[in-house]
């Protein structure tokens, strides 16, 4: 991986050690006693979370999918998730000057209800973990828009010890909006590009993520040292 400059990141044994170190006590395998004295073995990472991998969901065929894609493109619900400096460019979108609602774009506070995610600038290692969790909790079909040069090649944080360089090694990106930082107008243009892409039926990022799940996971685990969560977050 070109973006990984730190030799320590590639030491498998060290990764395993730190992973065990960072797994919280309540997530470790242990024995608990039930109210009537029974001993039960609990392994939270297996018992409380689904072990299922993401499934590929094939689109419908013909006119139906075209109509549904039109509806999806005209109703883009964006997850209110801000990373880096670009997050300050998003709030003006709902102000009278830019008014994203007239394009069918709205903000949603929860990943379950949103269909698009904006990675708004540099992603630190700590935030990457949260971004992945949120992305995986979104319902299919889901779209990712990346702002700024930081998400394309690292930008001014290219040799930082604490940020990732190429976003599309960690999650499938539909649209990049270049700039440092892009203004809200550029974001609106990005939304129009995203709409075009959805209408053409090319925004199948969720299926791409399911198809190449192992590759994405390997990349993510190389960066995130304290992996104290299940492999796929429902």
């Amino acid at each position: 991986m070109a973006q990984d400059n730190n030799p320590q990141h590639n030491d498998e044994k060290k990764i395993q050690e730190t992973r065990e170190k960072f797994l919280k006590d309540y997530n470790k395998k242990r024995e608990v006693e039930s109210p009537d004295g029974q001993k039960i073995e609990v392994e939270p990472m297996k018992d409380y979370f689904s072990q299922q991998r993401p499934q590929r969901k094939d689109p419908h065929k013909g006119v139906i999918e075209k109509f549904l894609n039109w509806a999806r493109s005209e109703s883009i619900w964006v997850l209110g998730f801000g990373t880096g400096c670009g997050s300050i460019e998003i709030p003006p979108l709902s102000s009278p000057r830019f008014d994203m609602y007239r394009f069918g774009v709205a903000m949603r506070p929860t990943p379950r209800q949103s269909s698009a995610m904006i990675i708004s600038g540099y992603l630190s290692v700590k935030t990457l973990k949260r971004a992945i969790r949120s992305y995986e909790q979104m319902m299919q079909p889901k779209f990712v828009m990346a702002l700024g040069s930081c998400t394309i090649n690292g930008g001014m944080y290219w040799d930082s010890y604490n940020t990732i360089n190429r976003l599309d090694h960690y999650m499938p990106v539909d649209v990049y909006v270049a700039g440092c930082m892009p203004r809200p107008e550029a974001l609106l243009a990005g939304f129009n590009q995203l709409k075009k892409r959805i209408r053409e039926g090319r925004a199948e990022g969720a299926n791409q993520y399911a198809d190449h799940f192992d590759w994405y996971k390997a990349n993510q685990k190389k960066i995130i040292k304290d992996w104290n969560m299940p492999d796929y977050n429902w």
Binding site: Q55, K57, P59, F67, L68, A71, R72, E74, S75, G80, S95, P96, D99, Y101, R102, G104, R108, P109, T110, R112, Q113, S115, M139, Q140, P141, A206, W234
Partner: protein, 301 residues
């Protein structure tokens, strides 16, 4: 009239109410946007949102109650339509109303909310729990003045049938409950602000605070059902107020105009006032509207 015709016309009424509810939601969002000097959503946005939500490719479940929550909520909305006489004087659109429909409507109005509370509770998100506890405690205090006003009406007209209450108000604007019993109307209209849950009283979802409250974990078709139901509820609760206090409607255009104006009251108040906190809201409902409700009862006895 046989049962099949009755069912078919109830479904037709439900269809009209659903579409009018979606259009009304869009118009109100447009109005609030104009107040903020924005252009706002397009008038057909609610329909697109529904298509999108119902066509999401996957959905997950947190358990049986989680799945039943939206169904119960929809049952609340559809049940209200079923037992509500929509058009006065039209045999086709009186639906399944009967002699005691006022009581069952008061019950069903609360039922959907309870089902939703159980479903949202199983979703397990902390914001859902906060939203549910706030919403239920507010609704409990809202129901008090509203029920007092309704009891005052039942005593005044000596009936528990909505059709008869509407019939008693026919023959001129001065026969409306609004003029024959202004105190009860005031109590009910103030508690209506809490029933529609617009801005000063939208603390169960509290945007920017506990982002959307109870439906935090709901997505895809679950959320689609909730949104469908919200559109139905907005209209049918306005129809309830129209029937009880504003002389009912004798035709569909009149129903549309009256429900729009009634719903507009709560939107207007919502645009002007910022959100209450829960203790302020509960205290407010237990002061002005409750006292008005008690006065209405005392005056009618």
């Amino acid at each position: 009239m046989d049962l099949l015709t009755r069912v078919l016309f109830t479904l037709l009424g439900l269809f009209i109410i659903l579409n009018w509810g979606l259009l009304m939601t869009a118009i109100m969002r447009k109005l609030t946007a104009r107040v903020g000097k924005r252009v706002g959503i397009r008038w057909y946005q609610p329909w697109i949102n529904l298509v999108k939500l119902y066509s999401n490719r996957n959905s997950i479940s947190h358990g049986v109650m989680f799945q039943l929550g939206p169904v119960f909520r929809l049952l609340g909305g559809v049940g209200l339509v079923m037992f509500m006489p929509l058009i006065y004087g039209s045999e086709l659109f009186t639906n399944f109303s009967f002699a005691g429909d006022l009581v069952i409507i008061l019950y069903i109005k609360f039922f959907g909310m309870l089902g939703m509370a159980l479903g949202a509770g199983e979703g397990g998100h902390p914001y859902s729990a906060i939203g549910v506890s706030r919403g239920l405690s507010q609704v409990t205090t809202v129901e008090l003045p509203f029920t007092l006003a309704v009891i005052a009406l039942a005593v005044q007209y000596n009936t528990l049938s909505i059709t008869e209450i509407v019939a008693a108000q026919q023959g001129g604007i001065l026969n409306w409950t609004l003029f024959t019993n202004p105190v009860a109307t005031a109590a009910a209209l103030l508690s209506m602000l809490g029933i529609f849950m617009h801005s000063p009283f939208d603390l169960h979802k509290a945007p920017n605070e506990i982002p959307i409250g109870p439906p935090t974990e709901y997505h895809s078709s679950y959320l689609g059902i909730l949104r469908t139901n919200a559109a139905i509820l907005h209209v049918i609760e306005a129809v309830l107020f129209m029937n009880l206090f504003f002389g009912g409607a004798t035709s569909w255009p009149m129903l549309i105009v009256k429900t729009f104006l009634i719903y507009f009251i709560s939107v207007f108040v919502g645009v002007v006032f910022p959100r209450f906190r829960i203790e302020q809201s509960v205290r407010w409902f237990l002061q002005v509207p409750l006292i008005l409700g008690i006065v209405a009862i005392i005056l009618i006895l």
